[in-house]
Subunit: 713 residues, 2 copies
Amino acid sequence: MSWLFQFLAIVLGLISLGWAFQLYGKIKEKDEGTEEMRRIAKAIQDGAQAFLKTEYQILAVFVAVVAFALAATINFPTAIAFVFGAVCSGLAGWIGMHTATRAAVRTTEAAKTELASALDIAFSSGAVMGLTVVGLGLTGLTIMYMVLQGTGGDPTPVFGFGFGASSIALFARVGGGIFTKAADVGADLVGKVEAGIPEDDPRNPATIADNVGDNVGDVAGMGADLFESYVGSIIATMAIGFAMAVKAAGGDLENLDLTLTTLPLGVAAVGIAASIFGTRFVKTNDENKLGEALFRGLFVASLALIGLSFVLGVIGSFGDGFGTLEDGTWFTVMVCIWLGLVAGVLIGKVTEHYTSEKKGPAQGVAAQSNTGAATNLIDGLSVGMMSTYGPILIISAVTLSAFWLAGLYGIAIAAVGMLSTLGISLGVDAYGPVADNAGGIAEMSHCDPSVRKRTDALDATGNTTAAIGKGFAIGSAALTALALFHSYAKASDLTSINLLSPNVVAGLLVGAMLPFLFSALTMKAVGRAANQMIEEVRRQFRTIKGIMEGEAEPDYQACVAISTKAALREMVIPGLLAIGAPVLVGFVFGVDTLGGLLAGALASGVMMAIFMSNAGGAWDNAKKYIESGQHGGKGSDAHKAAVVGDTVGDPFKDTSGPSLNILVKLMSIVALVFAPAFLAAHSSKADEKTDASEAVSTETGESPTKQEEQAPK
Amino acid sequence: MSWLFQFLAIVLGLISLGWAFQLYGKIKEKDEGTEEMRRIAKAIQDGAQAFLKTEYQILAVFVAVVAFALAATINFPTAIAFVFGAVCSGLAGWIGMHTATRAAVRTTEAAKTELASALDIAFSSGAVMGLTVVGLGLTGLTIMYMVLQGTGGDPTPVFGFGFGASSIALFARVGGGIFTKAADVGADLVGKVEAGIPEDDPRNPATIADNVGDNVGDVAGMGADLFESYVGSIIATMAIGFAMAVKAAGGDLENLDLTLTTLPLGVAAVGIAASIFGTRFVKTNDENKLGEALFRGLFVASLALIGLSFVLGVIGSFGDGFGTLEDGTWFTVMVCIWLGLVAGVLIGKVTEHYTSEKKGPAQGVAAQSNTGAATNLIDGLSVGMMSTYGPILIISAVTLSAFWLAGLYGIAIAAVGMLSTLGISLGVDAYGPVADNAGGIAEMSHCDPSVRKRTDALDATGNTTAAIGKGFAIGSAALTALALFHSYAKASDLTSINLLSPNVVAGLLVGAMLPFLFSALTMKAVGRAANQMIEEVRRQFRTIKGIMEGEAEPDYQACVAISTKAALREMVIPGLLAIGAPVLVGFVFGVDTLGGLLAGALASGVMMAIFMSNAGGAWDNAKKYIESGQHGGKGSDAHKAAVVGDTVGDPFKDTSGPSLNILVKLMSIVALVFAPAFLAAHSSKADEKTDASEAVSTETGESPTKQEEQAPK
């Protein structure tokens, strides 16, 4: 069946791109509004463009260097796949940003007449991002696989595609996170607090950078993050499926059945069909039913995926491919896919519970603001920590069930299932920043308050979907990293990563430390960048005459340039850490220590990501809850305390937290790609290693049976 | 040599207790000062007494229930050892608190004349705590071992002693942490902020509770924490040593060489001698050399330990005992002990770097206070996260080196080495709260400012030693938990805990989540308890006439009672979690999943403990740095911002952070004690388990060699 799955992947990937292009065309047809609106939108477009241009110039150098290193240490196909993966992810980010910055102003214009068409434009822009990510991801990966596959259909060379995607994700997420928060904090602290002008006021020099930041962080950053998860989960499943096929054929590489190897491509393909189908159901003119409309789309897509994947399974079951599965049948594999799908939604819902202003936790944080900033902060921190248990129990339950249903393959394909409807779920998520920008443009161009009211309704719903999207991004990153971890073990010929070996435990501890160090670095980076931004805004207020009277225009692009430079400079050290740590540990200490490192980073990284994202979300919405008139409303002491919490939460939820998704995935894929090189480097040390592991096993008793006899009563 | 080691342990343990008693006598001889001072001291003594009485009543019930459960599920000797361990730990806590509350007022009185004698009393009180902990810990454990040992000298029954000590530690640390912060926050928020009266003002109803809290948290809580580490590290080493002896003798239980089994008792014994020797060097009358004097004591004790343990090793080397060691010699074992000793000091020094007001990190937090509470908080959080890497690299390096030098035994004995000089290092640490209380009494009893100046000098040094002590407590907890983890594996007949098994990974994830959940629960508990305290203090200010004029005395004991009740009520759920989670996972999922759970909890628990303790320390000292006149000094906006950070840091560093030490150790020892029961419960499921593990190993390839042939180029 493998030809069918590959065929479907290419065809539906292209359809996805075509659909996105057609949606883009429709968006472009809409009216851009007044001259003033066009001018502001142009500034945002130019700022975003400038950031991407500078970023991609640096990335081009980085990609060339790494590609060269890969060609030298691994092989040429992996290097090609790496470059192609980086290009596809970068292109998806560019298309998404380009569309979002053009859609925002048209959303504002449409909001002048009715909500439905405003929603349509904003959501279409999100859908362009979603469909471009899955379209480029799936066709890119499938083409690479068809061109570069090794003997018997070996997917190893395409690991490089995942590595390329991960590298872009690192820079997009970390750099984007630093960009957006430096601009945000700078704009708020000087503009709102010192100069006393409202948010999105055109007199504030950092306001364009702030709006650019929304696109950079929440559109391009989020898109690259999920592009990586999408591609990574498929690659991990292909690797595990191929190993099983090899084993079932008894090593006869000429006649392998690649059904399981290519099944994830097929699932992703029908996921695209389901997503496009789902987008047709996102329509409403009632501002209280915006969330409902978006969820209807997701729900329909999920149902469609279940049906389509069932058909896929039935077709697949006519061949012998599922026979290479040691545990489970074609049907249990399908159940794993569905489990992953449901788990993604559930994790999103848990996230919503801890962060929504309509639920207890965020309202509790708001209540604690009455006794000051300290109690607001303590409560927010504990809400964030508390929120880890739900997602972890869900992920653990899915892991155990999927393994029980279909072995390791089940775990990997569950990750594919979770991400299969990414076309629409990313669309729902990426709609938020467009709505946010639309509101900003309405404010800056002095539109009628009724316009802002409509965009605010879109924006509020966008905040909820963004929180859910963050939870989904973490959950899918965890499951993808887990699948990659197992592929890494296969690529390293590891049948055991023994926690009783001191090397593995040391790796585990150091691995668990890395997310803390990484978060510290990214938070410090935001602080430094924000300080520069503050200086610049103050300078402009001081030196540009007539700026406060609205007579002279601030130098918007100077602020954009500061955020851009800071973001690119500050991502170097975290980036080196993320790529350097696994390479160093793999070469120096070997593949089992690295296995411990990956497990440690996964375990503490997921917790920290959930903790930081949800604490940040709870603070944000506690502030909004107070602003809605509770506990004294805007300007009250409680509100001031809540603003402190919100400011602390900004780098938590928009920089450090989401960056950890990348850290855990990137380290896993680096380990996977370099596994053969680590093995080669350690083949000379093989004797030592055997000694060490013997020491462990002999010390712990010759055999369990024997120890049992000696065990004390 | 085993008789020698046991003999030494008993003799030096008794000497330690005798020395402590003699020091106590000397303290009691000193003058208690004026009537007013006595009255205040009496209130603190009564409050502390009342707390311990109530706590121990509840603990008695808890201990009885658990002892009964142990007798029913494990065996009778384990139950006896459990009760004895609990009693010894509880007694040590009582003696330490009793002494500290008596020493404080005498320190104040001595500070009226000269610094040297004030230091002498305060440090002697700390030494009483330190020597009581090691004396009761070592004699108690050795007696239990001599009385209850199994066939051939099997130490299994004394695991119960460690469990008993851990249970007390849980309640002392968690309960003590909640008590002290509820009182502290209550006293500060209403007294300092609302009523505008200074710290330690006798008109503040919560001030006695605040001073009691210092003793409850920093004396009894810290003491129980380290009692547990001390006993736990010895037990773990005994268990590993015994397993090696059994193996070396080929199962002939009649003629085992117990040198390695009892060596930790010998090392602890000479550690007591070294500690007592070191205490003689803590003397100075120069307030700038206080820290120097304390470190001189530690340094001398460390040198003495190195010398004495070397002698111990030489004597031991005359027998055949070290021959049962598979890797290493008597000398490499000694090197492991020294490595542990040095690592403990180094971790303390790293902690000092991140928290001292004389170093960059805390000063950086102070500088960030200029732009408000939010930037102060962001910086403090990142300092805490950043501070994880030093201790983790040290612990990992010690683990790897010790394993290389002397196998698993080396890792365990390194933990014993780190804790061997606990008699003096706990003394240095427990001196802090006595100095703190002495200052409080000076303030409340309106002593001459010169007295307060001397006690402040003592207190400032106490803050530094407390920070180092916290780092040391975390480091030793980590190494002890690691040693216990290996003993658990031996007790469970596990030769491998395979991270490629989904059960183990699920255990790892859930384990890594528990410290986050536990911290959230304890932080919420502090919040609730503090709210009650706030209400009570407000009520007294409102209803007791003449209280503000100093004419009527506040109802101090009502505040003590609130903290006491809240502490005991709030520790139930965290306690159930810490004991219940490993028991549940062990019975339901089996010993390998539980192994994953322990590893996950260790990895994330240590990070969170370091993060929270050091963030709290940095905030605390950033505030003190500003109060010393920097950035506008007291009352400036920077100071206000720093106060917010300090308040957030309070539950971080004094409740949640330190409680995590207990969580990781307690879970390990619960697993160790119940391991036989888990195995028995799962013997019926053995077939299933074999199937599952086969599935893993077969899917990952029949043999590494074979996969290597098929591995892609």
